[in-house]
């Protein structure tokens, strides 16, 4: 019997409805378009959280559904951010340079403008020439395409190499971790062409847009919400069809799927590249809200946190990844931002800024040991009970 997409994925409608309601609520409460009450910086935090939810979705598809524990997806996230950051930085610097050169008596030539932009951008790393990789930085359209193409290509090449030689399980995890470490180390160099450990900055300012950050932050918030909604539908569609069945089969018994005649490597490669692209889009939306990107963002630890979110949220279910990412990253912001009240034990004061990571690490161990389904398991208990009740009637 062929069932409709929605019937197979009841969570999609619920999720989209909740997301829409949430977006509406935040818009109404915002300072830019609504009655106020939620600060612009908090809207940015929420917008960034939505992006993190999106990459968590990608992580869930690759890990929860396909069983490939990639510890390198933040590399794609960061690359996406770098690609859009290049255009944002180039264009903004260009406007500033053109503005300041307009004061001069003689109008500047094109060469002078480009030289001045190069000086502005690369002065901090002691250079002034544009590296080759900035060739398309002046074109928004091309950079937007590169947001998907560059990380996608990296994932394709890396995945092809890794899957072809049948690297699986923990070996693959370590290899992906090595990949993101290599990329981070490479970007840390001053002559990598992406400003070394200074990274790209000032990304929160949209070039040519005079609107205040109150408005810009909301635009990005909407875009992030739309991307998350779209990503959710896409992922749900991917995992619920025949393609999804093969993915789950690979997770459960790779050898058997291969013997059935499926090209396991191909499936893995497709899903690895696809999730890398989703991660890259999430990154391209995240960093304009964060305002700055530097190589530390893609250090191996970031990708491991991603796995932590998905595990705590409950892997193998899409809403679990979203809940986990939102819950843990917001909690993390709350604790490390110094907003959480310290606990005074008399002989020692627990400062959450210091102890949050200890708590996170230990609770992560506990979740792995005692609640492998994560927070999503709680929802299961609820729906199972309802299903049981319906069955009784």
């Amino acid at each position: 019997m062929k069932r409709s997409f929605i019937a197979k994925n009841p969570s999609v409608l619920i999720f989209l409805a909740i997301l829409a309601l949430f977006t509406l609520l935040i818009t109404v409460m915002s300072e830019g378009f609504g009655v106020g009450g939620i600060s612009t910086s908090f809207i940015k935090t929420l917008g960034k959280t939505l992006c993190l939810c999106l990459i968590a979705l990608a992580m869930d598809v690759i890990w929860g559904y396909t069983g490939i524990l990639s510890l390198g997806h933040f590399a794609f996230f960061g690359l996406g951010g770098y690609m859009i950051g290049m255009w944002l930085m180039y264009e903004r610097t260009r406007l500033i340079v053109v503005d300041s050169l307009a004061q001069a008596e003689i109008p500047p030539t094109d060469g002078e403008v480009i030289d001045a932009i190069g000086n502005q951008i690369f002065g901090v790393v002691g250079s002034s020439d544009f590296p080759l990789i900035w060739a398309f930085a002046d074109s928004l359209m091309i950079q937007l395409m590169l947001v998907v193409l560059v990380p996608g290509l990296l994932a394709l090449v890396f995945g092809w190499l890794a899957f072809r030689s049948r690297v699986t399980g923990v070996y693959l995890s370590i290899l992906t971790q090595a990949m993101t470490l290599a990329l981070a180390l490479y970007l840390f160099q001053n002559d990598s062409g992406l400003r070394g450990n200074n990274g790209l900055s000032g990304l929160q300012n949209l070039p040519g847009v005079t609107a205040s950050q109150d408005h810009v932050s909301l635009w990005f918030f909407w875009a992030s919400a739309a991307a998350l909604g779209g990503g959710y539908v896409l992922c749900a569609w991917l995992v619920s069809g025949k393609f999804g069945s093969v993915l789950r089969a690979i997770r459960d018994n790779e050898a058997r799927v291969r013997f059935l005649g499926y090209s396991v490597e191909m499936y893995k490669l497709v899903i690895f590249t696809l999730t890398a692209c989703i991660a890259a889009i999430a990154g391209a939306l995240y960093y304009p809200q964060a305002g700055i990107i530097n190589p530390a963002e893609i250090a191996p630890i970031a990708s491991i946190y991603l796995a932590v979110w998905v595990a705590i949220g409950g892997r193998g279910r899409l809403y679990g990844a979203v809940i986990g990412a939102a819950f843990v990253s917001l909690l993390s912001t709350w604790f490390t931002g110094g907003q959480a009240p310290d606990i005074n034990l008399g002989f020692y004061t627990i400062k959450w800024v210091d102890w949050w990571l200890v708590l996170l690490g230990l609770s992560f161990v506990l979740v792995t040991l005692f609640a492998p389904k994560g927070i999503g398991g709680l929802i299961d208990i609820f729906t199972d009970r309802r299903a049981a009740k319906e069955a009784k009637q």
Partner: protein, 655 residues
């Protein structure tokens, strides 16, 4: 030259007769000083040289005292008769005078009756040079050594003669050799006799010392010169340059002409823009509207118009370059005028470079070996837990860190470094063994069939431990000081050297290898571990308790990580991130080498160590790039040998 020789002989004579000071009293130095009274009082750098010369070459034992006192501004002149004395301050107004020749006090005098001789710094430098000849023959060994050092630091032509003179009388064999070596080097640099220099160069060629290269290199310094027509005679030409070839492009050539004043400077785009800006006339420059000046050709057109009107000098652009380049010849000339010497020096340097290259390879090998042993140390514990038990322990790095911090704490309690290290090693083992056993009991045992979850759970522990260390010890680096006898380095020559700590770590790695092999192959625990690894259920039915064996094996791997932590802490900074710096490399080592095989780990560590040093050697300024390329290489390497260098075969390979 002859003068110096004479001076040297005089010094020799002086030092020969110096033990017999009383007899020297017959000859007095005061008359010599009196002969030059006017010049001494005048104290001018330009005229003082003969005076110093006269004193130094007087052959009198007092000469050294006079020069020292003079340089120290302690020489006073008695106004009534113009005689010079050593002045000793009694109080602000009264000075006691001591005679140079007799060494006896002549009485106390009021300051206003005396005149202090205050040589300026230029004169003091001259005196210093003159004094070197005395110091080179000083009876005190340390003084002679100091004098040699000072010559080595800033060699000078005038020091050659006294140095030569002092060699023969040198009683200390070591110092004598040092003097002879220095004499050769000074000869290369400063001797006026070409043949002597050539001999010296050939004597020193093949010597690896940095000082030899430092002496030879300046001989080969070149300057870029330009001449009209042909190369002038009497110039020691290193190379004739063709503009536009190699790194000598036309612009560089032209700028050389400009520097020598042989051609007008090129107009840069900036020059043109500034000139145009100065001549804006009613919204246009030279007939071109200002708004149109945003391209290079338009600007040049406007400038040409201005030049025609005589407002600015004619434009000198790329088209003006070629003509002067054709009429001039460019060449690199040695500063050193003698061609024979420069040829010999170049040849000697070439020989030396070859030898240096060979020695550098040796040095690099030692470096790589030491890096490999560090990786081996960091990875061996992992090789046990991951390789033998198949358990991924992401907290392995934190066990290394724990070991290093244990070493630090022990050092706080026991101040003696040697004792504290001896205590720290077993303590670190005990601490991390306990932590490993606890972790195995509480976490890993429950996740046995789920390797990915083990990875994540141990990672949670790693986060918690790292932050815990930060909370306890703070974020700043803590010192773990090596005992004094491990300080310094074992230097074979100026090129090859390796620090004792690294040798110690290498030996430690060897010991670990031996201990590991012994435990695995010769003890009951090793036998049981291998049995449990191959087939836990079969092992259990043979009366082995797999739980206990797993616990002990994991504890052993963790304990070894702790000891490695102490060793790594000795040369790296002890911070909470110490472990995470090594964890990826450690996993790489195990994976590249081949899981489940200690020889594989050894091979992996050697490969990664040598690879990293090799890449660093190709691009020494950039260790980050070296690590990047190494990881990329490893990713590709895994393509060809997915199971590592030494892959297990047959039943031992498991799946």
């Amino acid at each position: 030259m002859r003068q110096y020789l004479l001076a040297g002989l005089a010094v020799l004579a002086a030092c020969l007769i110096s033990p017999d000071r009383s007899s020297a009293q017959d000859a007095a130095i005061q008359p010599i000083l009196q002969d030059h009274q006017a010049l001494i009082v005048k104290s001018s750098r330009k005229t003082i040289a003969p005076v110093i010369e006269a004193v130094a070459s007087s052959g009198l034992p007092q000469a050294q005292t006079v020069l020292e006192v003079w340089a120290a501004k302690n020489m006073w002149q008695r106004k009534e008769d113009g005689l010079f004395f050593i002045g000793e301050r009694i109080d602000s107004k009264t000075y006691a005078l001591i005679d140079f020749d007799s060494g006896e006090a002549v009485g106390e005098f009021v300051k206003k009756d005396l005149k202090q001789i205050k040589p300026n710094s230029g004169i003091r430098a001259l005196i210093g040079t003159a004094l070197v000849q005395f110091q080179l023959s000083d009876p005190n060994t340390e003084a002679r050594r100091a004098a040699l050092l000072s010559i080595e630091r800033d060699p000078e032509a005038s020091l050659l003669a006294p140095l030569r003179a002092s060699i023969e009388g040198e009683p200390n064999a070591e110092l004598k050799a040092q003097k002879q070596r220095l004499e050769r080097l000074l000869t290369i640099g400063y001797d006026t006799n070409e043949a002597a220099r050539l001999t010296a160069i050939s004597d020193m060629s093949g010597d690896l010392g940095v000082d030899v290269r430092a002496t030879l290199n300046p001989l080969l310094t070149t300057t870029r010169e330009v001449a009209l027509g042909a190369v002038p005679n009497g110039v020691n030409v290193a190379q004739v340059l063709q503009p536009g070839q190699d790194d000598f492009d036309v612009i560089t050539a032209y700028n050389l002409l400009v520097d020598k004043g042989l051609a007008p400077a090129l107009h840069t785009a900036d020059d043109v823009r500034l000139a145009l800006g100065e001549h804006i006339d009613g919204g246009s420059v030279g007939g071109v509207p200002v708004a149109q000046l945003n391209t290079e050709p338009a600007r040049l057109k406007a400038y040409a118009a201005l030049a025609e009107a005589g407002a600015v000098p004619a434009y000198v652009g790329d088209n003006a370059i070629n003509t002067p380049l054709e009429t001039h010849v460019f060449f690199e000339a040695y500063v050193e005028p003698s061609q024979v010497v420069t040829d010999a020096a170049a040849q000697a340097l070439k020989d030396i470079e070859l030898k240096v290259g060979l020695n550098q390879t040796l040095d690099l090998t030692l470096d790589a070996l030491s890096l490999a042993s560090i990786y081996f140390l960091a990875a061996i514990g992992l090789a046990i837990t991951f390789g033998v038990m198949g358990v991924i322990n992401m907290a392995h790095g934190e066990f290394i860190m724990m070991g290093a911090y244990t070493g630090y704490v022990v050092q706080q309690l026991i101040p003696d470094h040697t004792v504290s290290i001896i205590v720290a090693i077993p303590t670190a083992f005990a601490v991390t063994f306990a932590a490993g056993v606890a972790m195995e009991r509480l976490v890993i045992r429950w996740l046995q069939a789920r390797p990915l979850e083990t990875l994540l759970a141990t990672f949670g522990i790693s986060i918690a431990l790292q932050q815990l260390a930060k909370n306890i010890f703070g974020t700043q680096a803590r010192p773990l000081t090596a005992p004094g006898w491990l300080d310094g380095a074992w230097a074979m020559n100026d090129v090859v050297s390796i620090s004792y700590i690294r040798i110690a770590i290498f030996i430690l790695a060897l010991i670990f290898l031996g201990v590991f092999l012994y435990i695995m192959k010769r003890t009951r625990l090793g036998l049981e571990t291998r049995a449990v690894t191959q087939n836990p259920r079969m092992a259990a039915s043979m009366g082995i308790n797999p739980d206990k064996v797993n616990m002990l094996t994991f504890g052993l791997g963790s304990g070894i990580a702790g000891i490695a932590g102490v060793a790594i802490g000795l040369f790296a900074k002890v911070t909470s991130e110490l472990g995470s710096d090594y964890i990826v490399q450690s996993f790489m080592t195990v994976v590249v080498g081949g899981v489940g095989n200690i020889w594989g780990t050894l091979a992996g560590a050697a490969m990664i160590g040598f690879l990293q040093k090799g890449i660093e050697w190709m691009n020494p300024s950039n260790t980050l790039a070296a690590q990047t390329y190494m990881i990329i290489f490893i990713i590709i390497f895994i393509q060809f040998r997915p199971r590592g260098i030494i892959a297990l075969k047959g039943r031992a390979a498991g799946d």
